[in-house]
């Protein structure tokens, strides 16, 4: 199940999840087999992979990308996400 918050910030406000580059993806499903958080789902009779549950993705984890031979998975810029988390925390604090 998805984490509801990360560092006190609602998980859905943190855009951290993989993006699949379909020009590179070979549908080998290594990432899907690897990820224990069910971020990915197979579609079209198992021939195509989609990021079905982005908020299940563990914030700052990029381990699935390391299983990807064709280098088809990318993640957002980490410092930008950290800045966003700090900003949201600050906004919550002054409320």
């Amino acid at each position: 199940m998805a984490e509801t918050t990360f560092m006190g910030v609602p998980r859905e406000k943190i855009p951290w999840f993989p993006t699949i580059d379909y020009d590179k993806c070979t549908s080998c499903m290594e990432c899907d087999a690897f990820c224990p958080h069910r971020v990915f789902e197979r579609r079209d009779n198992g021939t195509r992979l989609v990021v079905a549950n982005p908020t299940n993705c563990v914030v700052f984890c990029r381990a699935c990308a390391k299983t990807c031979g064709p280098d088809a998975l990318s993640f957002p810029n980490k410092p930008e996400i950290i800045a966003l988390i700090k900003q949201i925390r600050e906004e919550e604090r002054v409320k």
């Binding site: 984490e3 381990a63 990308a65």
Partner: protein
């Protein structure tokens, strides 16, 4: 110690050509034996001697990491591992797209062989402040089903990625929590970060692996890697046995602890996170 080198053969990719060349030249440089992954897969007994007598070095071409997976499937203990596609990124020079090595590929082979040989000759060592790091005695305990997860009450801070940090002067030790080591079960490999590498808070500090999963170590603090735990590289099971003590992973010279602390949790707050995570599983 004798070494055996298991490499990607990668006949259809430039990274494979580099991996093969790195294996051959490293074997020359250190007097190691080369293991053919295809033959190892077909007839593991052929390499029984090499695998039992020597420390295993694995050279993977791309992130599919066939050589690593083969070693893991056969239960072979890996001492050191290198990945060509990571080295390409670190070099900032893309490989030529041909299967024959071009100038960038040739330069990369030399760099990788030099680093590999240097790493074997001079393993990273921890700082001299060992006496300041005693295993904690007081714990909070989070209970879930038949599991008990311990969390030290004092001296330790945590991030929500299940990594702890303990500070002494300007140096911090980092490791994974009892909750995470139990979740991973028997840890078989610790891939350390490079010493002297700069790391940001929430940057990567290598990974630990079990048969169940690969866990990326997300740094709780920013600074410079000044040491990795040689005992854990030798015996990764220490992480399971003593996650807050002798199973520590990395030492970091801190750059801005005060700022990092804004995004860290004390033991009580981390206990709440563990309760929530355990309940959600």
């Amino acid at each position: 110690m004798k070494h055996a080198i298991l490499s990607c053969t990668g006949l259809d990719k430039p990274e494979g050509s580099v991996a093969r060349e790195v294996a051959i030249r490293s074997a020359d440089a250190i007097g190691g034996a080369i293991i053919c992954p295809v033959l190892l897969n077909r007839a593991p007994a052929r390499y029984k001697k090499e695998l039992s007598e020597g420390a295993l070095i694995v050279v993977d071409g791309c992130s599919t990491r066939c050589a690593t997976k083969l070693a893991s499937r056969l239960g072979a203990k890996v001492e050191q591992r290198v990945l060509v596609s990571d080295a390409v990124k670190a070099s900032g020079r893309p490989l030529e797209s041909t299967l024959h090595l071009g100038p960038n590929g040739t330069a990369l082979v030399q760099t990788m062989v030099d680093e590999l040989v240097r790493g074997l000759n001079a393993p990273a060592t921890p700082s001299e402040a060992a006496s300041a790091w005693e295993t904690p005695t007081e714990y909070l305990v989070v209970t879930h089903d038949k599991f008990e997860f311990r969390i030290p009450v004092v001296d330790y801070l945590f991030n929500e990625n299940d990594v702890w940090v303990r500070v002494s002067d300007a140096v911090a030790r980092v490791g994974i929590s009892d909750y995470m080591q139990q979740k991973l079960t028997d840890i078989s490999y610790f891939e350390p970060p490079k010493t002297q590498a700069a790391v940001d808070q929430f940057g990567e500090l290598g990974s630990v692996e079990s048969a169940k999963a690969v866990f990326e170590i997300i740094s709780p603090v920013s600074g410079t890697v000044v040491g990795v735990n040689p005992a854990v590289i030798e015996n990764p099971a220490l992480i399971n046995e003593d996650p807050y003590g002798s199973g520590w992973l990395v030492e970091i010279k801190l750059t801005d602890l005060a700022q990092d602390q804004a995004l860290l949790l004390d033991g009580a707050a981390y206990a709440d996170v563990v309760k929530r995570k355990a309940a959600e599983e």
